[in-house]
């Protein structure tokens, strides 16, 4: 995708490029400056946002959020620098930068937020940004499909999570995380704990692509490579992991938590490593190893011991460093050679030595070879797994071992094979990448080495504080490279041997897996399509059932529902007796006449088949209503009613000149079923009115208006004062509606007639 677009002449993406690089860089330095302070004690700051709902924009700065903030801004700087060169000449690059910065803000808000609702809002911002970025090549149907799939899967999970958050907020009495995290014992024993847990995990598992919600992540690789590196490996997909880590003090530590997380995490890790072996496109290989890492992280957060959390946090940093570097590296290779196929590439170290160096550093860390920081991560995972009791120890250790073996093999596939041996022919003649694209992978690779040599720094500033935040209590964290001869080291050596064997035979294994996959009936991606088709089929069926297109049916259903519901209420609540005492004694003959005229007029409209008679009868009804307004002291309303009645007659007559005659009345035009509905509606309305009149009358509002109309609003016509002073906003909305209706009707009528005239003339 690198070259098939019309290029725009921009140096490093122009202004958008510099802004996009400067923003994360400045924030990174800012967070780096805060680091020593936060390593000592967490901080909470905040302002009220929606105080009535208990929603605050508050910031929780602790080890966990700092680690994430540094990863987001640090890798963000590398990625934006890279993108400025990679996509800077793309005509839509400024749009790309907008999405990327939007994502960055969302992600930072997510990890820093101390309020659950604010966290949800930022969570959804990252979902939307991810949707826009995956679908960046909007011309491609595949991009659009992948984007929508990611949006629907993560969005559905996000909604479930919102449900969990609201229940949790209700149980805890606050939405502030800093308070909720101290209430773990109460929440874990609450009867709603299981519901909260499952809803939260639905959000976390979809976002972090755990099996069986994993399928969107490999498809998301349709996004430009820097996006894959940033969102879909280093940051966004870790939001689910972040959420689980964040909630560990209040939701973690139960059997349910342990088994759900370790089972789903372990299965995801092993499934993904097998799938990674199957792929030939290196970007897809990396996508599946990301799944594997996410599964591993989930598993260790689930395991929940201090050691396990520490291993998880170490691996979190380790993985972000090497995975971002590898994605950026494959982008350079793709850019330079025009292909990402592992089967095609080879011998690139001769022409791309720096790329090869970056790839080697990252891949060594991924494989867990000393002295890279990946080795430390792996050692601690083994130690943590072995330290668990019983069945859990066996499961976690075996799964971690399997995943590590595969990571070793995959490290060879992505970083060793393309660069070793003889140079092979590729679509483009390969060349070394430019410095803005090399800087990121090289720095990240160097960091993997540096943290491996100086594990104390990593432990003291990042992993230690993060572990405290997740584990919930302070314990010493000591990271080291050499732990002496023990079981973990033995496992590491076994990992290398097994990994090397698999790497040597990986092409045969890949062929086997491809053959197996071809026969396998399980296909998550196709299943997703069937699910959507099912939804659409159901929607079409339901629409055809409820919304069949007959206006008469809609009206009949609406009125019947009204009669049934209001009528049932009357029968059940015994309101039929109300209002019988309303007397008709003092009714003036004129009033009798007016009411009789209204009734006669309305019946005539139904009876007649002459349009003119109908319009005249409607006029009678309208004027009768105006007379009632006059009789009962509403001069303003009466004048308005009279004027409008005149206008209605004018307009209806005008339009009717062009419309066909009403059909002649016949036996067939009498609709007894509809008459029954009509009579029922009328009857219910009459009873409604009677019970309203018989009920108590609250005149407080009117009394207030009467008392304040002159002294405060300086008006003697209370109706007008209500319209233009007390309830101005309502009136404002109403005149806006009148004007909109007029303009809409105007637009409808424009050009309606000429066509008619033409046909008439012809």
């Amino acid at each position: 995708m690198a070259d098939d677009y019309p290029k725009v002449d921009r140096v490093m993406g122009g202004p958008s490029g510099w802004i996009s690089i400067g923003f994360p860089a400045v924030l990174f330095l800012y967070f780096l400056g805060l680091l020593p302070q936060i390593a000592q004690a967490p901080q909470v700051h905040g302002i009220d946002w929606v105080p009535s709902l208990g929603i605050r924009l508050s910031v929780l700065l602790d080890g966990l959020s700092m680690t994430f903030a540094l990863l987001i801004t640090g890798i963000g700087t590398a990625v934006t620098l890279y993108s400025a060169r990679y996509l800077g000449q793309h005509p839509d690059y400024p749009r790309f930068v907008c999405y990327l910065l939007m994502f960055m803000v969302g992600m930072l808000g997510l990890v820093l937020s101390d309020n659950l609702i604010a966290l949800f809002v930022f969570w959804e911002i990252t979902t939307i940004a991810s949707y826009l970025l995956i679908g960046f090549n909007a011309d491609s149907a595949k991009s659009r499909r992948s984007a929508l799939q990611a949006l629907l899967v993560t969005g559905t999970g996000g909604l479930a999570m919102l449900g969990g958050m609201i229940i949790l907020g209700t149980v805890a009495g606050t939405f502030e995380l800093s308070q909720i995290l101290t209430m773990g014992d109460m929440i874990r024993t609450h009867p709603w704990y299981m519901g909260i847990l499952l809803l939260f995990l639905a959000g976390a598992f979809t976002k972090s692509a755990q099996v069986p919600f994993h399928f969107w992540l490999p498809n998301a690789m349709a996004a430009p490579t820097p996006v894959s590196a940033y969102l879909h490996s280093a940051t966004m997909v870790k939001a689910g992991v972040f959420l689980m880590a964040r909630m560990n003090p209040s939701l973690g530590g139960t059997d349910a938590w342990f088994w759900i997380l370790t089972l789903f995490g372990g299965v995801t890790a092993v499934f993904a490593s097998v799938m990674a072996m199957r792929q030939t496109d290196i970007k897809q290989v990396l996508a599946y190893t990301t799944l594997m890492a996410l599964g591993t992280l989930t598993m260790f957060i689930g395991a929940g011991t201090h050691y396990a959390i520490m291993a998880g946090m170490t691996f979190l940093v380790v993985h972000s460093l090497y995975k971002a570097a590898l994605f950026l590296m494959i982008g350079i290779v793709d850019h330079a050679t025009g292909t990402r196929e592992a089967t095609v590439l080879g011998g690139l170290s001769k022409v791309m030595p720096l790329t090869g160096l970056a790839a080697a550093l990252a891949a060594l860390s991924m494989a867990g070879v000393p002295p890279m920081v990946g080795f430390i991560g792996k050692e601690f995972m083994y130690k943590a797994g072995l330290g668990l009791g019983g069945l859990g120890a066996f499961w976690v250790t075996v799964m971690a071992f399997a995943a590590s073996v595969m990571m070793f093999a995959v490290g060879g596939i992505v970083a060793l094979k393309p660069f070793r041996g003889n140079l092979r022919p590729t679509p483009h003649a390969p060349h070394e990448g430019p410095w803005p694209m090399l800087a990121g992978p090289l720095v990240l690779g160097a960091l993997s080495l540096m943290f491996g040599l100086l594990p104390g720094v990593l432990g003291h500033y990042l992993v230690g504080p993060a572990t405290h935040a997740v584990y919930g209590e302070v314990r010493t964290v000591h990271l080291y490279l050499w732990g002496g001869f023990n079981t973990a080291l033995l496992l590491s050596l076994l990992t290398f041997v097994a990994g090397w064997l698999i790497y040597r035979r990986h092409e045969a294994i890949r062929a086997r897996l491809a053959a197996f996959e071809a026969r396998s009936p399980i296909d998550f991606d196709a299943g997703w399509d069937r699910l959507l088709e099912g939804f659409k089929g159901f929607a079409a069926w339901q629409a055809a059932l409820i919304q069949n297109g007959s206006l008469q049916r809609y009206m009949a259903v609406t009125f019947t529902t009204f009669v049934a519901l209001v009528g049932a209420t009357y029968v059940l609540r015994g309101a039929f007796t109300a209002g019988v005492s309303l007397s008709t004694e003092s009714v003036h003959p004129i009033q009798w006449t007016v009411l009789a005229l209204i009734c006669a007029g309305s019946l005539l409209v139904v009876w007649t088949h002459s349009r003119m008679t109908a319009v005249a009868a409607m006029g009678v009804v309208g004027i009768g209503v105006a007379l009632i307004f006059i009789m009962f002291s509403a001069p303003d309303v009466a004048i308005t009613q009279l004027l409008v009645e005149v206008l209605v007659v004018v307009l209806v007559s005008l339009v009717m000149l062009r419309l066909p005659y009403l059909p002649r009345r016949s036996r067939a035009s009498w609709r007894p079923g509809h008459a029954l509905i009509a009579a029922g509606t009328g009857l219910v309305t009459t009873f409604l009115m009677i019970s309203v009149l018989a009920g108590d009358f609250d005149r407080r509002l009117t009394t207030y208006f009467e008392a304040t109309s002159y002294p405060e609003a300086h008006g003697r016509n209370i109706v007008n004062v209500i319209l233009v002073d007390f309830r101005t906003l309502d009136t404002f909305g109403e005149i806006a509606v009148v004007v909109m209706a007029a303009i809409a009707a105007f637009a409808l009528l424009r050009g309606a007639a000429p066509a008619k005239r033409d046909t008439e003339e012809m």
Partner: protein, 138 residues
């Protein structure tokens, strides 16, 4: 429709109706009337004129497009609500100015009146837009 009596009477009636519509608008705060009623009366005047002559002549007599009057009306009404913001009160709080105070008599000016004028223009313009469109296109 060409009727000598209607045409002649209309000339007189339209002027009277328009004056009366302004009168109804202005007195509306203390006696029956107001922007809605004033606007309806004003629109009726022009509709009468349209029936007596033609849409073209009515448009010429009005000089401005009624749709513009209507939208301007909504704008004026909205702006009258913003005034309260300058004195730190909520949107649409009425602001009053009493001029030429002499004992018990004075000239009251207010944002409420401005709002009512906006209502008048919106109703007047909206209805005329509709009627002109119907008359013209049908």
């Amino acid at each position: 429709m060409q009727s000598l009596i209607l045409t002649t009477a209309t000339r007189l009636l339209v002027a009277l109706l328009l004056v009366f519509s302004i009168y109804a608008l202005l007195r509306g705060h203390n006696l029956p009337g107001g922007g809605f009623i004033g606007g309806l009366i004003g629109a009726t005047a022009f509709i009468l004129y349209t029936i007596a002559t033609s849409v073209r002549e009515a448009r010429t007599a009005l000089r401005v497009d009624p749709a513009n009057v209507a939208m301007l009306g909504v704008g004026v009404a909205g702006l009258s609500g913003l005034v309260a913001g300058f004195v730190g009160q909520p949107f649409f709080t009425g602001q009053w100015l009493f001029l030429f105070r002499n004992g018990d008599s004075y000239l009251p000016l207010s944002t409420v009146l401005v709002f009512d004028i906006g209502v008048y223009m919106a109703v007047f313009g909206g209805i005329l837009t509709l009627v002109f469109a119907l008359e013209q296109e049908i």
